[in-house]
């Protein structure tokens, strides 16, 4: 059976201007307990790949350039 893509607003936003993942930083990717962040192959910056956010904030708190913003997922907002 084919698999559907259900759209969903991603709660973690990464400011590509500030993100230094392309220079080798992986802090947000390392600290996410749910492991939902990855490097975006399109621009070398971090992005949210899996819609499984616990809105716990280590990604935002530990980011050395404050590039990460976390919103409460829309269903709970």
């Amino acid at each position: 059976m084919p698999i559907a893509n259900n759209p969903s607003e991603m709660p973690v936003k990464i400011d590509a201007e500030k993100c230094i993942a392309d220079k080798g930083c992986t802090v947000c990717i390392d600290v996410c307990p749910l492991d939902v962040l990855r490097i975006n192959p399109a621009n070398g910056k971090a992005h949210m790949r899996y819609d499984e956010c616990w809105y716990c904030l280590p990604c935002a708190i530990d980011c050395p350039t404050k590039a990460v913003t976390v919103a409460i997922p829309y269903l709970l907002r």
Binding site: M1, C32, P33, L34, W54, Y55, I61, I72, P73
Partner: protein
Amino acid sequence: MQMAEPDNLFETDVLVIGGGTAGPLAAYKAKTANPALNVLLLEKANVKRSGAIAIGMDGLNNAVVPGFATPEQYVREITIANDGIVDQKPILAYAERSFDMIRELDDWGVKFLKDENGDYDVKKVHHLGAYVLPMPNGANVKKILYRRLRQAQTLISNRFMATRLLRGADGRIAGAIAVNSRTAEILVIRAKAVILAMGAAGRLGLPASGYLWGGYENPTNCGDGYAMAYHAGAELSNLECYQINPLIKDYNGPACAYVGGPFGAYTANSEGARFIECDYWSGQMMMEFYRELHGGKGPVFLKFNHLASETVAEIENILHHVERPSRGLFHAGRGADYRRDMVEMHISEIGFCAGHSASGVFVDEHARTTVEGLYAAGDMASVPHNYMLGAFVNGAIAGEDAARFAASAPLAEYDAGQVEAERLRVRAPLSNDDGLPPNQVEYKIRRFVNDYLQPPKVTRKYEIAQQRFAEIRADLPRMMARDPHELMRALEVYSILDCADMAAAASLFRTESRWGLYHYRMDYPEPNDADWFCHLQLFKDENSRMACRKRPIEPYIVPIDATEKDAYHRLRIPAHA
């Protein structure tokens, strides 16, 4: 990919699974007790930010500090709070080491609230005694633990999810099998002693929002430890004593009465009136909360708006920075202000967690399970109401005992056939080109958990749940994973379903009501001490079927006065008091 490659086999003396709270202490204490031992700490996420205290904790909920409480008083409090169904020895073992652990953490740099004389400033939240010690800078706990682990030269392996334990022919523990969540690489770890510190089973019930990742517990804590212990033949205790917590409506954290209570905040109904005398989380408290929530005076609120603005600011400074720092963001999004608005509260999804209630893998006062060489500590081990400090202390106890055991035991031989069977199970979802996405299977299990298992418990509903779970079990081989991350989620679904089955079996077996809401059975609404003043042990029987039996309560070492016994049953404030 069918045979274990040599580099996928790893040998260690002590294997600790889970790097959250109990795990780091277990690994650190095992290594420092005997530096000659190799100690491996395996973590599904990254030890820097993992487990229930990933972003720290706002305080100790069960500090036994001289001048405020004695170990014996603490044992009495928890015995009464847990309706008498406890083994006092492990509680006393915790309580006797509680203060030394606080001082050790203090030495490591964890900041506790102190008064003007430099003494610990303990607050009263429990019904009888005072045990709550705030941690004003509690956000840095994980960083401090991580530093200790590095100093002790403990080996850490992140992003490995353990899936099954290995046992030797003599019944002793032999190690574990794990899979990497980024590469799907399978690792076979041989160990002389294994410590399970894998947290609560927090992805059992579905939050009322329906959002899979909005549960109270860190969602990595999905019950893998409970499932692994069960499949390895270890016994589990009192799983029917669910964890259910009072949380902010639509948010996954408490508001929190443990923090706000000492400042004068309290749980109120829609009229702003108190209805319970004590905000400590017990089954009896949750029963009163549930009754008020569903009664004419519901919903339930946490009330801060009678406090001075500066007091509220002090509370916010804790609540919005530690444990659940997105709490402030949540309130801001709805324009809510503690100074003006009462905070609407709700009831959490159900789960297993001895750290808050009593549902755990059975352990004795040395943190030993019923399998030789296998230990458990923290939220998943059966020491009731253990919280974070209990995880630290029992992690330490487990680490030290495991170090002693590993020093004299040789590695047990494992069964290559078991490894091969597990390899096939673990990798199967990657081979399915189409099939069921794990998130859908998980949603369905957890929705049925809410529909049928959430208290009040009804026998017929539980039997229907068992049928539904059996049908879903037949679906599991059809789960598909498009990458190693989805594979991890698929394997977690196995643990979630195992826990759902265990919750149903244990609850049906105990034909009485106990622990307030946690085990409120409508067709057996009263406690029945004559038949049920005992533990319930759940285990896999010789035919590989789920079975339950009664286990007598060990004679108390701290006697309970007949007049104190029911103290937690008198929490409700009479309507016309």
